[in-house]
Structures are given as C-alpha cells and as structure tokens.
C-alpha cells in the first residue's frame, strides 16, 4: 500500500512507504486539509506539470536565485552557482496544527533567549544544576567576551530557525518534533518567500481555491525586529545587512533581504569603527550604523576579538557593541544555546524560566560524553542517527539504518576516540510528502524550518521553509546534499 503520510490519514512505518509502488493512490483516505488540493492535482496532466517545472527553473535562473557551493564547478566547468531544486507540490499544514506549533515556537524561543541572557549574566540555571556548568563554560560556543554585556530587550537570538519534523509517536499518530535550533545565522527564508511567489505565478487558480495564509510580509516583520534592536537612544536607526560577499553560499538571500527591507547590504570593508561607533563609507562620507543584521559567523566578526586574520568583519566592532553603541543581530554567543549538546536541556529550560510544560517535543537524545549514553549508542549504532555536536549541513553524521557495516565500524572508532563530539538520536520516520520527481509523483522526506523573530515581541509569518530530500529514501534535506524546497501552506479548512 502506498502512503504519503502528510497527505493521507494513516501514518505507517517508513519501510511500508518505500516498498510501495510509485503511483499516487488517490483512493486512500485523504487528510482533510489535502482533500481539495489532491483533487486538483489528480486533474493535472503530467505534461503540464513538466512544463511548469521547466518554467520555474527558467525563472529561478533568470532571477539568479542561486547558491554557491564552495569549490564546486557547474556543468560548464565555469561557475559555482547552483539552483536549489524547487518542488511544485506544496506541503500543507492545517491552521489548527500550525497554531499549536506557533505557540510552541514562541515558548521555546523565549526560553532560549532567557537561557542565553542567563548564561552571560547570573547563571541561575547553572547554579540550580539544571544544565551542567562544564557543558556551558567548556563549550567552544561559549563567548567569554559576552559576560555581563547587556543587549536591547535582553534578546540574543532575533532570528531563529527552528527545524521541525513530523513523525509517528509510539501510538502511530503524527506528531511534531524539534530536531534542531538554529540561533546563529539561520538561512533559507528567501526561499520561503520566492517559493510562494513562484507558486502564485505558476498556479494562480490554486490560490483562488485555497485560503493560504500569506508570508510576504516577512521582510516588514524582520525590519521591525531589527529596528527594535537599536541602541535605545536612536529613534530612526540605520539598519544594514552584513554579508561575507557575493561568493558566500547564501549571498542571494543577503542581497534579497537587504533589498526587500530597503537597507544597505554591506561588507566588512564598507564599515569602520571610530570612537566606539560603527560607520559605513558612503559617497558622502561616513554614516552612522545602528543595527547590523550580520550574516557572518561570530568567528569572523571582529579580528580584534575573534579570528585575527578575518577580513569579513570589522575591527573594533565588539568594542562598539559592548559600549552599547550598535545592535548586532543575532548577538554574539548564541551558539551556546543551539549547540547539539545543549539541545537535550531545552525542555528543562522552558520549565525553569517560564514555569510551563513544553508544547513542542524534543527528540530523545543520547549525549555520548556520558558513559551510559555512550554505551547505549555503541550497542545500537545500526538503529540510531549519530551527529557531531558542532556539525552542520548534514555532514559528519551517521544514519544507522542506511549505513553499511563498514561505515558503522568507522563511526564506532571515531566515537570511541572522542565521545564528547557526538550525540545520538533514534532514527525518526520523518514524514514524507508527495513530490514531483522525474518518475512522476513520489513520496520524499521533508522537514520544516519556521523563522521566529524576537524583538519587542516574538512573532513569525505562518509557515516556514519546507525542505525535501529528493533522493529516494534519503533523510538528508540539506541543499548542499541534494535537498530541494517546497512551498509551505498554512491552510484554513
């Protein structure tokens, strides 16, 4: 039997989905919120969908919605720009599910910001023994330079990308799990916006038939959030977006967001710190900068404090920041809260700071630094997903059920050599979604990254970026490893 667990009622195990044939079985019981779309989809000839897909690709190329892969060459052997594959079939989430998820996201991100503030000030949570002190202070992501620094609204992670998957619980019901918090420089929001634009262009009729919650006001919310992070003295703050430059993989997004907000896109070389204030070099001399939406990692921000050889940042930036003369979004040192070894403590943070039960689930996580967890992990390698604590982009991980014996043994050796570098989690049966691939419509695994904005309030646009693992059976959705994206609909039904 064929199962598309986002579209169909019964959520069976992953193997059942993968073993089935590749034709979409519209006679299966549909989930309510997919009913109308599935009906529409069944009427679309394959040739029409092919043509739409070609059209989308042509437009993305012309618009230059590309990302750069470091050191890679394109088909002509000349450039390094690639398209992120865009899938025509939207991922649909019913409004009532979203409302709950949104409440959970507000709760979680609020607690994470409280945690970062606490870590760099009174450290109540460490004193209470809820998060082990050495896990924080010996962590490479802990920034001593942030101790005692006060930031506007006590917000550190202004833009948070929370990775969420849907998977069956023991009872077989679908449930959302937070897989990872991204609190440093989460990217992908431009694809969320461009995917919606593309869908409206390709299939306008769908939007007259469905009440899809709009997302296009994201840049407005972002600008509002950034302006709220200005040093308090300034009522008309100048905001800039700081990019590593046009060869960065997310350059399109940096340029896009700056343009949509109507602010300057700057590089490190355009900024200068004088008398502990930040200035940009313009055709009319120096101009004060109040808020920097930086898309450059901590390590490269200020050669005076971090990597001395970095040319991407600005010398003296941290002086200006500590003096309270410039806002940096996200703040330095947020990595302490999205580190994979801190992740297991997030539910406890929510209870500690907010006195509330967590709304969103965490995935059970084994910290290999702890002997019991390490033993369990080593005994169950073929069932678990093992990740590097500081890994990103889907690299440096072992997906036990999909790995060869040799890969498992190699990983075992690496684990034993440096257990503290790893965590392990059960392999979740990530939900899949009908996806238009070369062979037709087939199930592919997806996740969801909503973008949560924290300024004076915590807010977000409905939905997020749905990433899809285009390779059959693959669980890795990262664009650097063959992942694609889909439009995400929050639907009133």
């Amino acid at each position: 039997m064929k199962l598309f667990d986002e579209m169909f009622e019964a959520l069976k195990s992953q193997s059942a989905v993968l073993e089935s044939s590749s034709n979409l079985a519209f006679d299966l019981p549909l989930r309510e919120h997919y009913r109308s779309y599935a009906q529409w989809l069944a009427q679309q000839p394959n040739a029409t969908m092919q043509a739409r897909r070609a059209e989308a690709e042509m437009i993305f190329r012309r618009v230059g919605i590309t990302f750069a892969v470091y050191g890679a060459k394109d088909e002509d052997g000349s450039g390094t720009e690639r398209l992120i594959p865009f899938d025509l079939i939207p991922r649909i989430i019913p409004a009532q599910e979203w409302n709950r998820m949104e409440a959970g996201l507000v709760q979680r991100v609020t607690a994470l910001n409280r945690f970062i503030h606490d870590v760099y000030h009174d450290q109540e949570i460490l004193k209470a023994g809820i998060v082990p002190r050495e896990q924080v202070e010996n962590n490479a992501q802990f920034r001593q330079v942030m101790m005692g620094v006060s930031v506007p609204n006590q917000i550190y992670s202004h833009i948070s990308g929370i990775d969420i998957v849907r998977a069956p619980t023991a009872s077989g019901a679908g449930e959302y799990f937070v897989l990872e918090d991204n609190l440093r420089v989460p990217s992908g929001v431009s694809y969320m916006l461009e995917n919606r634009k593309m869908m409206m262009r390709l299939f306008p009729d769908l939007f007259s038939q469905h009440r899809v919650a709009p997302v296009a006001h994201y840049p407005d919310l972002l600008l509002e959030t950034l302006r709220a992070s200005a040093p308090s003295s300034n009522t008309e703050p100048t905001v800039v977006v700081l990019t590593p430059g046009m060869y960065n993989s997310a350059y399109f997004e940096h340029a896009f967001l700056a343009q949509q907000m109507g602010v300057e896109l700057v590089e490190g070389q355009d900024l200068v710190v004088k008398d502990d204030f930040v200035w940009m070099r313009t055709t009319r001399g120096l101009k004060r900068v109040d808020v920097i939406y930086r898309r450059v990692d901590d390590d490269f921000l200020d050669p005076e404090v971090f990597r001395a050889n970095s040319t991407l940042g600005v010398s003296g930036l941290m002086r200006a920041y500590r003096a309270g003369n410039v806002g940096i979004c996200n703040a330095c040192g947020t990595g302490i809260a999205d580190d994979k070894s801190i992740y297991p403590y997030v539910p406890a943070m929510i209870e500690f700071y907010l006195g509330e039960k967590p709304i969103l689930n965490n995935v059970p996580t084994y910290l290999c630094r702890q002997p019991d967890d390490l033993k369990y992990t080593l005994d169950h390698l073929s069932e678990l997903v093992v990740k590097e604590v500081h890994g990103a982009g889907g690299y440096g991980m072992l997906v036990g059920p999909a790995a060869t014996k040799q890969e498992i043994e190699d990983f075992r050796a690496a684990l034993l050599a440096d257990p503290a570098r790893y965590i392990a989690q059960p392999t979740l049966s990530l939900s899949s979604c009908p996806t238009f691939v070369d062979a037709g419509i087939a199930p592919r695994h997806i996740d969801l990254r909503p973008f949560v904005l924290s300024g004076k309030t915590v807010q977000m646009v409905p939905g997020g970026l749905t990433r899809v693992a285009l390779k059959e059976g693959s669980l890795v959705v990262n664009s650097s490893q063959g992942g694609g994206t889909k439009d995400t609909w929050i639907l009133e039904v």
């Binding site: 012309r62 230059g64 700056a258 896109l265």
Partner: protein, 319 residues
C-alpha cells in the same frame, strides 16, 4: 549610498558600454572586410582595431600575425582578454550581482539574462555562424540595459553613477574610434595619394560613421558627400550627436553636478573645463593641432576625470 555600491554600479555600466562599442568596432571591420579591397588594406583595419584598444601586443604574443578570424575570436570569446565581449559582459554581470539589491529587478534580470544567453549562444556556435547577427545582439542587449535602467531606476545617486559610467566609457570609446582612422592612414589624414585610395578612404570614413550609427545622421546634418573633417566634427563637436565627445561630456557634467558634494568641486571644475573646450572648439583649430594629438590629449583627460571620480566617490575613504 555606499562607495562600494557606487563603484560597482559605475563599472557595471562601463563594461556594458564597452561590450557594445567592441561589438560596434568588430561589426564595422567585419562589414568592411566584405568589400573588395587589398589584403593590405584589410589588415590595416584589423590591426587598427587592436591598437586603438591597446591590445596589439597581447594579441601578437598569443596569435602572432593579424588574421581576421583570430582577431574576432580574441575580441569576442577570449576570456583571457579583459576587453573581449565575453570578459566585459562577465564583469558587467559580476558587478551587477554584487549590488543586485541596489538595482531594480528588471535591471538585474536584464544583466543576468544577457550573461546566460551569451553563454548559450557561444556554446551553440552562433557567433561563428553569423557574426553580424551576434554583434547586433550585443548592441541590442546594451540598448536594453540602458533603457531598462533609465526606465525603472529611481533617479537618485545610483542612477547618476551608472550614467557617469556609461558616458565616460562612451567618450573614451568614440575618441579611440575616430583615432583609429589616424592609425589606418597615419600621416595622410586629410590627403589622399591616389584616386583608388580616396575611394577606400570613403569606405573607411563611412564605416566609422556606421559604427556609431551615424551614417544617416551625417547626411541629414551636412547634406554633403563624406568629408573627413565633417566626420570628425560630427563625432567630436556636435552636441546633438549622441555618441559624440561633446554629447558624452554634457552627460558627464550633468550627472556629476548632481552627485558632487562640496569636497569634489575640483573634479567638477575639470569636467566643466573639458566640456567647455568641446563646446567652443572649432574643427579647423583641431586640425591645426593635429587630430591624433588632440584625441590623445582628450583620452588622457577623460582618463584623469575617471580617476578623480573614483577617488572622490568610489574608493573607501580611510577612517
């Protein structure tokens, strides 16, 4: 606006204009080569084309003798030649990409589309199949780029720096183009040794006119046979001829006057002076001075003006 942004915009326009002018020169030489003429005369044309772009040594070290097909390939497809059409359009697109947020969607997409289409055409061998058609395409894309810029950009500093780039480059290119005639006939500027040469002379001068789309304009303005001094006057001194040095300097002065802040009045003075000289010059005076000498001096001064604009606006000021 950011100095770096202004710099990218300025160079984006310069490179687009340069690609167009390269296409114009190649087109004229290509068209001329279809006329019955001696190999020697044809060779002088191709060689002149390389020398006005100061590329003769680079060409010779790579290809040796001047061969029309090789020159065309060198000036169109050779990525190691910074003045080739492919290099110019790549640089224009890279500059545009670096500041795509400062451009309207239409301007950026036009630049990007040009680049994508160029790659497709070169790969498909469309240049070799029909060079004239290819040169026409380069010109049309340049027209489109200028048109979409003027038609969609907010009339602020960004637009003015782009326009400055366009007209400084065009002034430079037109001056070089007129000078090429000097390269071709050397000391024999206004004279003609034989009747036959005079006939060729007509074709060369009319080719220059065509390369700046001015053949019909010449007839309309002068209602006369093609006379070298009138061609020179049209392309240097006529303010109503859109590719003349005078017209270019008028545009430069106009755009510069909008962006100057107090500190750069010296640059404004230089631009104004150069413009005034063109405004009040007479072609017989230029003749007396020698056309080549005049153009060489003009090129130096346009170059200097570009340098001043860079220093005043486009370079990151030391803190």
């Amino acid at each position: 606006m950011l100095s770096r942004t202004a710099d990218h915009l300025f160079w984006m326009s310069r490179y687009t204009e340069r690609a167009e002018n390269t296409a114009r020169m190649l087109d004229v030489n290509y068209q001329t080569s279809l006329l019955p003429q001696s190999d020697a005369v044809a060779l002088v044309g191709w060689q002149g084309l390389l020398s006005i772009s100061e590329l003769l040594p680079a060409y010779q070290s790579k290809h040796g003798d001047v061969v029309p097909e090789k020159v065309m390939e060198f000036m169109v497809k050779d990525e190691s030649n910074p003045s080739s059409i492919v290099s110019c359009l790549r640089a224009a697109r890279e500059n545009a990409r670096a500041v795509r947020g400062a451009l309207t969607t239409e301007v950026w997409e036009t630049q990007n589309q040009t680049w994508l289409e160029l790659n497709r055409m070169l790969k498909a061998g469309e240049f070799e199949q029909d060079p004239a058609q290819f040169f026409e395409w380069v010109k049309v894309r340049s027209h489109q780029s200028r048109g979409v810029t003027v038609g969609t950009m907010l009339m602020d500093e960004a637009l003015h720096f782009m326009r400055l780039g366009t007209f400084l480059e065009r002034a430079d290119n037109t001056a070089r183009l007129v000078d090429v005639k000097y390269h071709a006939v050397e000391s024999d500027f206004f004279g003609a040794a034989t009747d036959k040469d005079q006939e060729y002379d007509f074709y060369h001068w009319s080719a220059i006119l065509r390369s700046v789309s001015a053949f019909e304009i010449y007839r309309k303005v002068y209602r006369d046979v093609i006379k070298p001094e009138r061609v020179a006057e049209l392309l240097i001194l006529r303010a109503d001829m859109p590719r003349s040095l005078h017209a270019c300097l008028n545009e430069v002065v106009e755009n510069l006057s909008v962006v100057v802040a107090g500190t750069s009045s010296e640059t404004m003075r230089w631009a104004g002076k150069l413009q005034a000289e063109l405004q009040y010059a007479r072609i017989d005076e230029i003749e007396a001075m020698g056309l080549h000498a005049f153009l060489t001096r003009f090129l130096d001064r346009v170059n200097d003006l570009g340098g001043r604009i860079s220093r005043d606006f486009l370079m990151a000021e030391a803190a």
